[in-house]
Symmetry: C2
Amino acid sequence: MNLAALVFDAYGTLYDVHSVVRRCEALWPGKGAQLSQLWRARQLEYTWQRSLMRRYVPFSQVTMEALGYACESLGLKLGEAESAALREEYLRLATYPDVAPAMKRFEGRKLAILSNGSPDMLEPLARHSGLPFDAVLSVDEARIFKPAPEVYEIAVRKLGIAREEIGFVSSNCWDALGAKSYGFRAWWINRGGAPVDRLGPRPDAILQSLGDLPEILR
Amino acid sequence: MNLAALVFDAYGTLYDVHSVVRRCEALWPGKGAQLSQLWRARQLEYTWQRSLMRRYVPFSQVTMEALGYACESLGLKLGEAESAALREEYLRLATYPDVAPAMKRFEGRKLAILSNGSPDMLEPLARHSGLPFDAVLSVDEARIFKPAPEVYEIAVRKLGIAREEIGFVSSNCWDALGAKSYGFRAWWINRGGAPVDRLGPRPDAILQSLGDLPEILR
């Protein structure tokens, strides 16, 4: 398949956020799962709502504001120590076990991350994981979040590659569909067996793991 | 307070969607609450994601697509009869008990609905409830959903009243904050005792019921 670049979402696609859930549980025993779920839901909602309100702030701020909301909602006390512990957890997430072996098989193409994360979150994360990315791209320079087309446009501009020659991978179906709508080849990694989102376009393929992608690229 | 118009969100603010939950439970016993919750969450997410993707479709379509997703996710069979029953339920929602008495006390000001709902959903609903609205406004003409500023702008244009003279009421905090960000006076009806959303602006006041508004307007 004639693709010059592969672009990957970060959180939940390459990087497993489960350690954040574990840290929540350690800080507030018995509440970790519920807190993480509410936190993640508000984090995403705030990215969409702020984008539509034209009130962009970096993802690091959205993330902490969503945490503040979630803690208040559940009656949990969020002090500076808890905030700092969770902020740091985001900087050293582990990759999924299928990521490093698959990456080796993508040689010869440009490889990049394109994430909602702000540069202050993404750069330590990419450095920590030691994966061979040619570019670590943040929505921050477009000042709007996924799935706005301005975000996917960043990859075209920064990599200097036409949209038709870029393949995009995300474990968030709506993100894969945003990329598809913009004009990328787009694959959805459906680790949880969820239905396809009804947003118009369809993913080019649905993968169970990143390990299925090299086969598709032949 | 010198406000020439009061503009109200529809679903969840004036109109109680609980009868839809009841109908879900009647169609799929034991699953009504879970289905309704997932349906509502996806309905809103799709409005935000489609707005950002520049793939607007009317709310009636978003609503049925979200229902399709939610039923597939829970393994529930959605036939034409179930779809039609739920679509119709949306056209005859009851108003909350505090709505009709409060409306009588707003005389002398222009009163309008401003909703994500498409005209084919809103017009039967407003007619059915018999409330004295001067205008029933849909986001449909801006082809983008709340909380984009283009939506709140519709009220200014259609009512012919400056934004500073419009008061906006919603039970969705993010909607009240979208209106506030645009430049309306904005009140959040917080029937469920939730925290304020962290999106930048704050509501001008938080009400427990629409019955608290006449006092504030004095």
